[in-house]
């Protein structure tokens, strides 16, 4: 009887200690920023590493898309609509949803001149849904907010599902 109880106590103590340490570690971990994802303002401010594979996310600035005539290369400006812009060049097939004003995530390498060479471009639908007739109004009114929300939300992961 005593033996069993003692054994059980040992087990519980051991496991609880481990779990407590784990919890502490998790809370510590949450304080760290571990993304390879950078919003435009960080790129602008030199917070993103140069010459390494990173992701940049933002909105494709209206009127910034320039397509080459001969091949598939394209260049555009990625912006958070708050004055922080990143020039992106890409060569390849763009996703159907790629259009001006759309949120995208570009994966590639940041050059020392601040130009971003993408090897993948992913269209990213944001969390806003609205009927077409509403959208003109809404975009005009909300574009600032939309841009930031895209950037911020993808920055702060939430373990319990969003």
């Amino acid at each position: 009887m005593n033996v069993k109880r003692k054994q059980r106590l040992q087990v519980i103590l051991f496991s609880m200690t481990a779990l407590a340490v784990a919890l502490y570690a998790i809370f510590t971990a949450f304080e760290q920023n571990m993304n390879i994802f950078y919003p435009p303002h960080e790129v602008k401010n030199g917070l993103a590493p140069v010459g390494q594979n990173i992701r940049v996310g933002g909105m494709v600035l209206d009127g910034s898309v320039k397509r080459a005539k001969s091949d598939l290369s394209v260049s555009f400006i990625l912006s958070d609509l708050q004055g922080n812009d990143v020039a992106v060049s890409y060569s390849g097939i763009l996703p159907d949803l790629f259009r001006e004003g759309q949120g995208i995530v570009a994966e590639g390498v940041l050059g020392s001149d601040g130009a971003f060479v993408a090897n993948t471009v992913l269209a990213k639908h944001d969390e806003n849904y609205m009927p077409p007739e509403l959208s003109d109004l809404a975009i005009a009114a909300d574009q600032k907010a939309v841009g930031t929300s895209l950037v911020d939300k993808s920055l702060s992961p939430n373990i319990f599902g969003d």
Binding site: L97, H125, N128, Y129, L134, S135, F160
Partner: protein, 254 residues
Amino acid sequence: MSAKTWFHQWGSPRWFFEKAKPVSTVLGLLSLVFLSLGIIWGLAFAPEDYQQGNSFRIMYVHVPSALLCQSLYLFMGIAGFIGLVWRMKLTDVAISAAIPLGMMLTAVALITGSLWGRPTWGTWWEWDGRTVSTLVLFFLYFGIYALRQAIKDSSTKANATAIIAMVGTLNIPIIKYSVDWWHTLHQPATFTITEKPAMPSEMWLPFLVMVIGFYCFAGHNVISRMRIEILRRESGSAWVRSIAMSGEKARYVF
């Protein structure tokens, strides 16, 4: 009724079998109403999206099934925990009823997601956080399913399932976090409890109806299959035999 006797009832398959019947019926009817309302509303009356056009309507199936398959796994984990600690037979019945439904809904979420991904992302499949964690969820379900196939003895089966379901459930948030860390393509939450949805009410109301319909359906499905499973497991006992003899099988089961 004291708390203790209330709790004890749940240990009795027979009590559950009898008490759950009306619950299951009500849920079944509710799900019928909500699902048909939601489908008609969502497919025919809700407006198009300004960017995606009609393809966004996949949401009305995709999101509820994605939500539900996670809820069902959580449900299994909790049931497993209760079963292990209080040694209750009913929990394994519940798990055995939840597995196929959960696996199916995970598959539905994966398939509708990838159908949706084609027009929006330009690809059927992308190694993105949400997609990967859903895929892993499917693997988790499949693992449990395969384990149950391999064990003959029913009580061993119950305990083994409970162990792995618990460990798996603990892991789900970590899986989600680990993949989110690396891959972010899937859109962030449209619906949160704290904020108003980022979509007009003509769009989210039918969606809400669909979600409720899905949950009712899952409740109905799990409970009625639990009841059938109880009959199968207790087929040797007197009360089941008396039902079988009474010629009122149909009335009891359905």
